[in-house]
Amino acid sequence: MNMTQTRPAADAIAKDGRGKFPKHKLEELRGRGYVMFCVLLLIVIIFSIVYFIASRGLTPFASQGVSVGEMLGGLKWAPEADTPRFGALPFLFGSFATSLLAAVIAAPLGICAAIFMTEMMPKVGKNILQPAIELLAGVPSVVYGFVGLSVIVPFLRDVFPGQGVGILAGGIVLSVMILPTITTVATDALRSLPAGLKEGSYALGATRWQTISRLVIPTTLPSLMTGVVLGIARAFGEALAVQMVIGNAPHIPHSLTQSAATLTSIITLSMGNTTSGSLHNNALWSLALILLIMTFLFVFVVRLLERRVKHA
């Protein structure tokens, strides 16, 4: 009896399937088409950018007589001299020094803020501290540079010898800029810690601080480091704010308050003064290529850390 009842319905489905191209299949194809087109476009854009930077950036080494060794290890940057020199080590040093200094300043602040928000006063953290820190992320970099130039640089000039500009000023400005990244990633990591773990620690007679220092931080360390590396990557790529406070002198400084330069600052400063295709212009592309490779490395490190989180 059941069979006879369902047969008409089954017939209808079979008939419909044999009929002309059904509407839902068309929709399926159209949806898939949109997504594939967007993804392809994205891939094409990414590869074009990488190809463009690489082809321009490799020209000085390939056909204009600059050696990779000179670029990475040379101390003198004089692209317009009679015998042009392309030593980018001072910029590499400047980029690393400012980013690492920024991380050294921002990491403890950001991680402590995250601990405060998750472990100590979640209400105050959620309603006051978190919005305040998120606000920091929205401030344009030129504003940071401006504040750095008119507050931090004069302050450093009064306290330390020199002009106040330099790696210390750059590091301080950058540390405020990367604070939201570090704090947000750290907060997410701490929040995602299973509640049962902390209870287990308290049940053994641990104080809150013992629980934080012996259980919470060791467990979430790879995630916390991910935040710090993302922060360093952001600092490494920041151009404008750094350029405003670092002094832009193409040499390795002897102190933190002496003028220096970074890869980004030298690109933004010089690019307007060079003609496309000239050796100087191509050398700037080489610097851009170095920045790109560094970014890849940072992404790689983050991936590595994330894998450690999963395997913990």
Binding site: G200, Y202, A203, G205
Partner: protein, 229 residues
């Protein structure tokens, strides 16, 4: 409610969900302190001392009143470090002393033979039942007098459950055990005294045998014969 829990025996709290048995268990080591807005009235006296007298240090109390939770919650550390976590909190630093505590605790939790060669492996590589016995070893490592077990077998398979029950029977020789269980057969199997809760009240508290064979209260009888809950 007024309840006396005898030492060196197993007392089981039974009752339907939401009747307050876990909450009561968690007042015994003041785990409820961590929940914001919780109001605690009355006294809990452990060995002549009211733990809510405002002078008892909660860390000291929890060292003496260990707890095993419903879900096994080993720390993402090695097996060794899990057991050594508690003693280290309370100031044991000497390697030889820690080694001794770790071995003794794992033996008491009848886990030693299974893990003695893999002490440096992550505790998360163990099975659920092994993890729960590790949590028991971790609780024993701080040498408590009392062990609270909050439905500690409800997340485990029958074989692991049996192992934990056997272990519990062994442990009552040296520890006072208070367990919350959803499974009244478990209470009947291993506990010495059983307390039946309903809507936040103690309905009946008696020797296990008596409570299951001849309950005095009609509600107890209804519950243990499966008419509700």
């Amino acid at each position: 409610m007024d309840l006396t829990i005898p030492e060196k025996s197993i007392t089981a709290f039974i009752g339907p969900s939401g009747c307050g048995k876990s909450t009561l268990l968690r007042t015994l080591n003041r785990m409820n302190d961590t929940i914001p807005g919780v109001l605690i009235e009355g006294e809990v006296v452990i060995q002549d001392r009211n733990i809510y007298d405002g002078q008892t240090e909660v860390e000291f109390l929890r060292k003496r009143v260990g707890m095993v939770f419903q879900q096994p919650n080993p720390f993402p550390k090695t097996i060794y470090d899990n057991v050594a976590y508690g003693p280290r909190l309370h100031g044991v630093t000497k390697k030889s002393e820690l080694d001794g505590i770790v071995e003794k605790s794992l033996r008491s939790a009848s886990l030693w033979n299974e893990v003695k060669d893999v002490l440096k492996k992550s505790a998360w590589s163990l099975s659920g039942g092994q993890q729960q016995r590790l949590c028991i070893a971790r609780a024993l490592a701080v040498e408590p007098d009392i062990l609270l077990m909050d439905e500690s077998t409800s997340a485990l398979d029958p074989i692991s459950t049996t192992k934990i029950e056997e272990l519990t029977r062994e442990l009552k020789k040296s520890y006072t055990i208070v367990m919350v269980t959803h499974n009244m057969h478990q209470a009947a199997r291993i506990s010495d005294r059983t307390v039946f809760f309903l809507n936040g009240e103690v309905v009946e508290s008696a020797d296990t045998e008596q409570l299951f064979r001849a309950p005095r209260d009609q509600r107890t009888e209804d519950y243990i014969s499966g008419r509700f809950g």
